[in-house]
């Protein structure tokens, strides 16, 4: 399951997508819309925009890279598009691996790679009515 979602993400369904029985460890990262921006401004919500085909291709490439590095594992990635409120789930990464060490490592590496590489953009909406596109720091 590698997808851009326009509706709220069902976290359990993403995790269930990596349910092969040979994998004993599942690590899931859930990213939610935070109430405060990094600079302290009060956030009302976010709007995400994606280049969907290229985003999904980027997810596929990230999964291939993690398999090359950690061996057999399954990864599901779903990222929201559209208008989100504070507290809503923006992204879910679920990794299943034979053991916890690879599962933790691949999950962390996947979300970092997604933030740097995936063609997805966010606009923060603030309590004072203003809004601003936010890029991830490198």
């Amino acid at each position: 399951m590698l997808a851009i979602a326009r509706e709220p993400i069902d976290v359990a369904a993403v995790e269930a997508a990596v349910g092969a029985p040979e994998f004993g460890a599942v690590v899931t990262f859930v990213g939610r819309v935070r109430q405060r921006a990094d600079d302290g401004q009060s956030v009302d919500g976010l709007t995400y925009e994606a280049h969907e085909p290229l985003a999904v291709e980027t997810f596929e490439r990230i999964v291939r890279e993690q398999r090359e590095q950690h061996g057999a594992l399954e990864i599901a990635i779903v990222h929201r598009e559209g208008v989100l409120d504070v507290g809503e789930v923006a992204v879910v990464v679920s990794v299943a691996a034979p053991h916890r060490r690879e599962a933790f490592a691949a999950c962390a590496a996947t979300i970092e790679a997604l933030k740097q590489q995936a063609p997805i953009w966010k606009k923060e909406r603030y309590a004072d009515g203003s809004a601003r596109w936010r890029e991830n720091s490198r």
């Binding site: 925009e49 280049h51 290229l54 985003a55 063609p119 997805i120 953009w121 936010r134």
Partner: protein, 81 residues
Amino acid sequence: MNVRVFAFARLRELLGERHRELRLDDGARVADVWERLEREVPELASLRASTRVARNGRIVAGDETLRDGDELAFMPPSGGG
């Protein structure tokens, strides 16, 4: 030749639309498209260095030569997650 140009996020807002068709001279390069957009919207100039361009789904450099029917996507630095 004609190419389809897509712009995202801040770039889409500056251009006023997500998608447009451009007619170009044969032999035109990716950079020529950007320069044409920049003439129309001078604010784009400061974003050029950070903008990635995909041609038919593959990230390319500015000197890449275009063909009729190409699809270009102009993309700011990522903000996902």
